[in-house]
Symmetry: C2
Subunit: 382 residues, 2 copies
């Protein structure tokens, strides 16, 4: 039998810009990006998709975007700025995919045009998916508006939608061509969304960077009190660790490892069990508490270390227990976590603060004991 | 403004195996592949999707697949072999995507499992798309059964479906993990499908390899007479040139160039204008004739060269004119060709036999004259 071997590498590059007031006509960042990527001979089109929740908090946003692009001749703004519902519901609604693909078709957005998404993680995931499958991949610019999307998902390479309520069942790995993190959007978040994204920073600090963990401990009060400068540092450092991890690891997750998903196996399940009433970051905070206590029970973390972790989360204002942990439903999250990626079950635990280590099995009785501990120490009085 | 730069490469490798009687229990090729990629501790699942047209020509195929995997313990074959309609219609029917995604869900096919497609280019394009978007990319094995898919699309990195009859409007770049070219399938093709795929070999020889063009001239009689050994050489050499082109160029087509699409701008349109009655390879043969004559009229090819090209196509049995070329409808193919990829119009023409060169504009009057020439010399008597 004759065989031909195929082998090639594809290089992906993009910049993550940290700025304020992105659509202020005095801020050249976005226009500079398009000038830099201008091709002589034709003007590329821009199709904007906006998160309804962001527009509610910034009613002048569509007008500001129109004004921003009014007096330039580098790109052609599609004047119909599309507004779609945000939150997890956006990923559960297949008609939104059709609506956005129709817009790509109707406005003649080709592979050299740009689809820009302004919103939280769900809108970015949905729009990224539509951009990835249209014409085998339209250039996609992300403008994340929440802490969670600015420091984690929005700077990464994944997109996805839910299918029959299975989270991210459909999706792909498709790096954006640019990410613009505008800290102005963070100031209008409600307290829960402000706090939620911080748990991804706690997570990445725990598995990768004890110095950053120390910074989080020192600044927990400021972060809880909505100090903007502290949050800007947090977002920047967390995004940096996230980007480094992707570039140095397995960007398109061809292997079994999911090292960035510390605390996530139970978090995904908890979100689902509560009908997404518990937000992703809130669920991750609980997942971190569970897997830190589990690591302590394995003898990997000291009592002092696990106390530092739980105390940091408490200082940030997170609840570390939820009644949906009662019963064994959350344990099903282990199997589902394995199934999504496939291969061997692979769970990240902690050897110490700043050092993660993977295991391929978890003891269900030990998980039950950890949940009991959290219930006894953390459950809110009814 | 602060900026973080992201940059990484993703390596893709896969082998294209040339074999006969792939599902003969005496042929170890397919099972050897799964043994090589076996992971201790669990058995990966195989979900087969079969082209109805192939099953019609090989009614014992499902049984042979079941028998092939019956006595081994390396992988778990999903016993429900899914049979779907083939041909362009498969790519026009969105319910097929749902049906296949449902099967991925129902049978718990995860990212380490395999989806295998056995069929012509349309079935491979559809199944490749479903595999690419499910769980952000399930491992995909292609078993192409036509000349066209064995020497061209099936060994490449694209997938896609049509949307509102716009060809490949939805799709992605997602390399397979392996391709198995079984020449036995070629022997049961009808004459039109046997011939069709040869035009991609003529195409790639014209733009890249004058020695291969000479071989095609010498063997045109054998190929037209369905000589299996000649066809096996053609498929192998054409696949090799196609693979080399992908690896040395721009595999995911991030730029504007489409160098492998010689003769294709009019071919895509001709397929559409005839409701896909003209098959892809037949349309490409006409497209090659048109753009070769055009290159001659530009003074790029000599009279002798263009005659060699047209004579080879005639000797292979291709019609080089179709009444749908009458009128200006086919000229719309130029704009649509540009729009699918975006960016500047980029058309491959010929400097000589074996050497292509790209242009960014075409003279519509010259195209009309070329069509008139083909009509006068090639039109079949009514």
């Amino acid at each position: 039998m004759n065989t031909l071997h195929q082998s090639f590498s594809v290089r992906f590059t993009y910049d993550v810009y940290f700025t304020e007031n992105l659509f202020d006509t005095l801020n050249p960042a976005l226009l500079d990006f398009f000038k830099k990527h201008h091709t002589e001979g034709y003007r590329k089109k821009l199709l904007f998709i906006l998160d309804q929740g962001v527009v509610a908090g910034h009613p002048d946003l569509p007008e500001r975007i129109n004004t921003y692009f009014a007096s330039q001749s580098v790109v052609d703004l599609v004047p119909d700025l599309i507004v779609i519902p945000g939150g997890e519901g956006a990923k559960n609604d297949p008609t939104l995919v059709d609506r956005l693909v129709d817009a790509v078709d109707r406005y003649g957005i080709d592979r050299h045009s740009y689809v820009l998404a302004v919103g939280g993680g769900s809108v970015l995931d949905l729009v990224g998916y539509v951009a990835a499958i249209s014409h085998r991949g339209i250039r996609h610019v992300r403008i994340p508006t929440t802490v969670l999307s600015q420091n984690d998902s929005g700077v990464g390479v994944k997109n996805g939608i839910n299918y029959h309520s299975k989270k991210n069942f459909l999706g792909s790995f498709a790096p954006p061509v640019a990410v613009f993190n505008d800290s102005t959007f963070l100031t209008t978040l409600d307290d829960r969304d402000w706090r939620s994204g911080i748990s991804e920073a706690v997570k990445v600090a725990l598995i990768k960077d004890q110095v950053f963990f120390g910074w989080l401990e020192e600044n927990a009060g400021k972060l809880a009190a909505r100090d903007k400068a502290a949050m800007e540092y947090l977002v920047h450092r967390c995004a940096e660790l996230h980007l480094n991890h992707i570039a140095s690891g397995d960007p398109f997750e061809m292997g079994s490892s999911r090292p960035l998903d510390f605390g996530h196996w139970s978090a995904h399940k908890l979100e689902q069990l509560t009908g997404f009433e518990v937000r992703h970051g809130e669920a991750v905070a609980i997942g971190i508490a569970m897997d830190s206590l589990y690591s302590y029970r394995l003898g990997w973390l000291t009592q002092a270390e696990v106390n530092r972790i739980l105390n940091l989360e408490r200082a940030l204002g997170f609840d570390l227990y939820h009644p949906a942990l009662e019963g064994d439903s959350v344990l099903k999250g282990l199997g589902e976590f394995r199934e999504h990626l496939g291969g061997l079950l692979t769970i990240m635990l902690l050897r110490s603060i700043g050092t993660g280590e993977e295991v391929h099995e978890m003891d269900e009785n030990l998980i039950r004991e950890v949940i009991t501990t959290l219930k006894e120490t953390e459950a809110q009085p009814v």
